[in-house]
Structure formats: structure tokens, C-alpha cells
Amino acid sequence: MVTGVVWLFLAFVLIAAVALVVVLAVFSRGTAPRSGHDGVRRVRQVITLARVVAVVLAVRVVMDVSAVGAHGQGLALTPFVAAIVWVIGGIAAEMVTRSALRDGGAVLEVRSLGRYLPRRGAVLLVFGIALLVAAAVITTLAADPDGRSLSYTCGPNCHGTRSPWAGAFYTAPLAVAFVVLLVLVAVNVRLVVSRPRGRLDAPDQAADDATRTSAVAATLLVVALAVAATAAGLVMFSLLSPTFAPDTPASVRVAMATTVASLVIAVVSATALAVTAFSPRQARTSLEA
């Protein structure tokens, strides 16, 4: 029964993600700047190919990781592990295309993260992450010593435990995976921003800027999706049942509210980042950044 619910949940997430991608892809067709420059086109093609390969690998890894550990420990890790695989794909694409735009020349411009960062989506993502971390800290502190259950009292001489509960048994591996993901995201974004480019014409430069903006947004998008999926899993499998029990301590309700807020903000952030990833606007100039 539980396994069925899990697979139903994963299927729902997958279908929702595919539907979002299709809708955005259809509505964003032709909006990104085009370029006839071989190097610019090659960079875009390699990044797209790497993302497709990374998605396939992520699905495979999710299937393997979900079976790791006991009591659904591996399943809790799957969103962050899938995101890690996706980001590694982005890093590989950046490494392969490192010299694609070099021609011995250089434009005297300052390329910084501020030029390519989708600010609204990034700020929302930071809020979503902060709320999820706060919720995880609350649930970890409230958990029983075994780190995966929550004790409750139902009356005189009536005690019980609820499981699964997001204690250290689940949140410690999640924290490790999350830190690894953040480090890889930082590496990927740095590689995107610092990718060398030579003397490009204005339209080619605009197309390359769009590719960089899209790559940064796509990297943050997958973090937002991982945060949203983790928050959704926390609500469904851990918080939903105890929150509505009459004897629930206030900290559980606070954790529930924080997690739901994190979920909503992460979804809004993911939508904003997905729009930028599929239909990047013109990058800011050095002065605007």
C-alpha cells in the first residue's frame, strides 16, 4: 500500500514536471536570440544534449537510490541525488565547451554573476531553502532518539509513536546531499559565467549571453524542484498525519506551516526559473550588473 502511494507520488511529480517543460517549451519557441556562429550554436547544443543525458541518468539513479537504506531513507534522498546528477551534467557540458568561443581576441567587458542571475527566482529559492532548513531543524529536534519516529500522548497511560518522522535518521543524509548539491551548483554557475569567449558580433554575443542566462537558471531550477519535492515528501509522509491529531505539539504545526510555505515558494521559484531557462531575456550589461 505504502509502496503504491510512493510510486503514485513519483508518477505525479514526473507527469507534472514533463507537462511544465512541454508548456514552457511550446510557449518559448523562437523567443531566445538566434546565432549563426558555429561556436555559440555548438555550446547550446552540447548543453542541451548534456541535460537530456543527465535526465536519463537521473531517472536511473533515482531508481537505484530509492532502494538504498531502510525505512525509506533512500527515497527521501532521491530529489537531491537527481539534482546532483543534473548539475554534474551541466558541469560536464561546460568543461567540454570551454574553448568553443576562443579566437585569440577578447571584448573588454566584465562578466559577473549579476549579469546572468535571474534575481527574482533566485531570491525566492533562497527563501524556500531557508524555510525547508528551518522545518527540518524543528522536526529533527522534536524526533525520538532513534531519529525516525515521534512520540505522542493520547491520554492517561496512553503513549505511542508515529513513524516515519523526519528526525536525524532522514535529515542528516539529506543535509550532506544538500551541501554537496550546493557546492556543485556553485562550481557549475562559476563555469558558466567564466566560460571564455572571443570577439563576437553583437547578435552572437546576445545569443551567448542568453545561453549563459539559461544555463544559470536551469541549474537553479533543478535545486528549486529538489527543494519542492523534498518539502512535498516531508508533508505527505511525515507531517500530514500528526498535524491534524488533537494532541499534537505546537512545534509540529509550525513545522507543517513552514514546510508548506517552503513548498509553495519553491514551486513559484521553479516556475520563474523555468520561464527564464526556456526563454532567457537579454542579459544585463556590465553597468547594470
Partner: protein
């Protein structure tokens, strides 16, 4: 505005870069206060070592054309004013460059010829 390193030019890459940046400052392409790319970025774009760009920047800093501040990057110095060139001298230089190009000389050869002429003692 762009710069380029010519692999076929016997002039060291840092000197090529220094001359091009100075020419841009003199021509007004890089106005006072304009920010230059970070050393690592420009070196990666040009495909040269970071030390090459650092040396070009340092020499221009020593000459007072650029200023570097920690966290503020490298900028064209506020006091960097392009030297006034009399119109007659500019016309002569343009004629020289045009004639040299007709003879097949490249930019490096023209610069070397002018440097040699300047190095001769005045009569």
C-alpha cells in the same frame, strides 16, 4: 572594444596587450573610470597565462594609466588624459600608416619603425 593577441607577432603578448589598452585609452575608447575585465577572465578569453595580463595591467598602473582597488577591480585612472596630438601630426601618422600598409607592413612593423625613429637622437 576588443583586444587581440597575434601569435605571429614577435612582440611579447603582455606588450601587445599593453599597447592595445594604451591605444584605446588614448583614442578615448576607454574613458577615465572605465572598468577593465578581471585578470583571470581576460587571460582565459585571450588564451594566455594570467601573469601575462597581470604584467600588462601592472605596467599600465605603474605608468599611471590604470588603478586597481581591492574588490573594485581595475579601472582607467581618473587622471588618465590622452595626450593632445596636433592635427598636422595626426595627418602625418595616418599617411604613414596608409603608406606602410600599401608596402605590406603590419601594425607591429609600423610601431617598431616609429619607436626606432623616436629613439634616434634629435639633430
Amino acid at each position: 572594444m576588443h583586444v587581440r593577441i597575434d601569435d605571429g607577432d614577435p612582440t611579447p603578448p603582455y606588450e601587445q596587450l599593453r599597447r592595445q589598452l594604451l591605444a584605446l585609452v588614448h583614442a578615448g575608447g576607454l574613458p577615465a573610470g572605465a572598468r577593465l575585465p578581471p585578470i583571470r577572465q581576460l587571460a582565459a578569453d585571450l588564451g594566455v597565462a594570467a601573469g601575462t595580463v597581470a604584467r600588462a595591467y601592472r605596467e599600465l598602473e605603474d605608468a599611471g594609466w590604470l588603478v586597481s582597488r581591492r574588490g573594485g577591480g581595475t579601472r582607467v585612472a581618473e587622471g588618465a588624459v590622452a595626450p593632445q596630438v596636433p592635427p598636422a601630426v595626426l595627418t602625418l601618422a595616418e599617411e604613414l600608416v596608409q603608406r606602410a600598409r600599401e608596402l605590406g607592413a603590419d601594425a607591429a612593423a609600423v610601431r617598431a619603425a616609429i619607436d626606432r625613429a623616436l629613439a634616434r637622437p634629435e639633430p
